[in-house]
Subunit: 360 residues, 2 copies
DNA sequence: TCCCCTTTGTGAAACCTTTCAGTAAAAGGT
DNA sequence: ACCTTTTACTGAAAGGTTTCACAAAGGGGA
């Protein structure tokens, strides 16, 4: 079933058929009708590859994740970003093709992906994975990463992290466990990207308070519930006795809380915890997680809009930094509202008024 | 940068360049090297659309979800299926293109998707969305749905549901709230698909125990945490006082538990709850959720393997039904292990030994 | 030395659509 | 009635790859 069959059946040229679908205004209404009827009769559907080849538009955007798909779905943060991306592509009839590094040959997959552009998450522009894209001349936008030659969308990681650490240090904590991502293999000791910026924020607060952040108090883990759980458990088993936890990701913070509970620690009375991201789950956990809010959804939607604009009009590159905000819930002893939420069976749970503090 | 440029630079024909990449054995080793070097020099990357058009292979599989992307990610079940799908596509260097019904014009998106085949989740073959696929002649496999003309992968929904309801009824419950999906608009009163089969399983058990399942005890909700929460809350507000809950989805069951806690009910002592799916989260919740286990991961991987086989060799259609298994954890008073897990702050939580009972 | 078979490589068609320049006819202006 | 626009449509090129039948060169056996 090709466009030629439809053209013959309708007694018009192939060009007319093409126009009937893509620009019906150019044809007489009755002709359009006749063509469409013929197409329907024949069960014709345009070949997407041929269309993409000729029109240089596939109607597909690629999304490149920094982690294997399994952990991507394990972390609500990515789900939220994806949702933000989807909200924009959706209204334009654009589809999403997701790629993650597990793919046996990621480079090959990236090179072969039938997409118009890429949203890259958590990878710096000079990352190896980005090269094939540039080679192909496929435009991309980077979320949570630095870029010179492309647009990027980031948040004020450093400011948010600083605010979180500052609060804990101000409350007198001196043994704070910092939970951070595992470093990608190629940047083992550099503190690059999001991880680096958040760590830098913590460190700045430590410096301000003249408190030392010892190396053994900075532990790396997988960005999953289990990762946070294990990291805290291991630190505890190693004899560390932190009174507070700073995690660069909510999901890790939640894991740490789970471990703490298992070890008989009460949160927040024995251990105060502040995460990062403010994923939807953070407000629902027991206790609700204090965290650094970032506009995750907006991150995705903004990046996508930028990319589409670049695709459509060759719009200018932009470097966007969205604000963060410290949100105090039940996993810290709230600054203004000291009531500890009642947790447990049979009781009525009341969420304390949320305390917000913009980080800038 | 086209294949022609590379051919010129390497002093060979375009066909030779193509072969150098796709079938190097046909060329002398030194020639291949020369061509590859030229390609690298020029930064050549094959155009995916042209390749797909000619070779009739895009290296992309579509995944069609039954719900808007937001709720898809909100439900760990889909994440697990996707993971199963990904585990297979991954080792073959195939990419995944995800489509969900929110897309302004789903039909158009489906028709235009540059994919080789589709894994359809939770939609019956005669669903409107499937028509454009058939029209295009794109092969597909259906997960959690019926199909005559295509392969399908399902689980023993009815058996699993029966086992869950049977247990609750055997324990003497007479006021059981059943939580089910919202029906898609086009099958409002028919009990089709997964939902229908699970409901049928419940009903069968009720019949066996000669207990009436009243209409107002079957409530429909969104398949999210909030959906389950709201459904239970509304039922409670309407004066219903169930002593047990059967949910056709874990995530809804978890939502119901949250609502129950908020209403001051203890689970399992005031309310026993059994979900369906056994998503990873089910074992982690407080209390751990009793549920009907289904091999979610396997569902995805099996379907994908089937599809790929069909694509490669035109393999025969198959209709696969995987077993389910009732798993008793903390949200029911365990049959063999009556200890109620200690829940709450500061305590040590011990998971009771899991009790397993195959549904067939 | 002759014939046949491999090896290595080529030319051109095919894949199916969109687009661009252009034509024929109808409409509009004076 | 003649010229200019506009409308409605067409023919053919272009997009970049793979594939298929075929050719040239080299090798081996008798």
């Amino acid at each position: 079933m090709t466009i030629r069959d439809v053209a013959e059946k309708a007694g018009v040229s192939m060009a007319a058929v093409s126009n009937a679908f893509n620009d019906p205004g150019r044809l007489r209404a009755t002709t359009v009708e006749r063509i469409l009827a013929a197409a329907k009769d024949l069960g014709y559907a345009a070949n997407p590859h041929a269309r993409a080849l000729q029109s240089r538009r596939a109607g597909v955007l690629g999304v490149l994740f920094p982690q294997p798909i399994a952990s991507v779905f394990a972390n609500p943060f990515f789900a939220a970003v994806l949702e933000g991306i989807g909200s924009v592509t959706d209204e334009r009839g654009i589809s999403l093709l997701t790629l993650s590094p597990l793919e046996s040959s990621l480079e090959r997959a990236i090179a072969a992906a039938p997409v118009d552009g890429f949203v890259i998450i958590g990878l710096d522009e000079n990352h190896a994975e980005v090269a094939p894209l540039r080679k192909r001349g496929v435009p991309f936008v980077i979320v949570d990463g630095d870029a010179e030659s492309a647009s990027s969308v980031n948040v004020d990681d450093e400011g948010g992290a600083y605010a979180a650490a500052d609060l804990l240090l101000s409350r007198g904590h001196r043994h704070i466990l910092v939970l951070t991502f595992h470093a990608p293999p190629d940047e083992l000791d550099k503190d690059l990207g999001v991880r680096g910026r958040r760590l830098r924020g913590y460190r700045k607060a430590f410096a301000k308070h003249k408190v030392a952040l010892k190396d053994d108090h900075v532990v790396r883990a997988f960005v999953t519930l289990d990762g946070g759980d294990e990291a805290f458990s291991v630190a505890w088993a190693a004899g560390l006795r932190p009174t507070a936890v700073l995690a660069v990701s909510d999901i890790m913070a939640l894991g740490a809380i789970r471990a703490a509970h298992r070890l008989g620690l009460g949160v927040p009375e024995d251990l105060e915890v502040i995460g990062f991201d403010d994923v939807p789950l953070a407000a629902e956990s027991l206790p609700p997680l204090s965290t650094v809010h970032q506009p995750i959804h907006e991150k995705g939607s903004t990046a996508t809009r930028l990319l589409i604009r670049e695709l459509d009009e060759g719009g200018p590159r932009e470097r966007i930094v969205l604000p963060t905000e410290l949100i105090l819930r039940g996993s810290t002893v709230a600054a203004r509202d000291a009531r500890v939420p009642h947790v447990g069976r049979g009781g009525t749970y009341r969420r304390p008024d949320v305390v917000r503090a913009a980080t800038r």
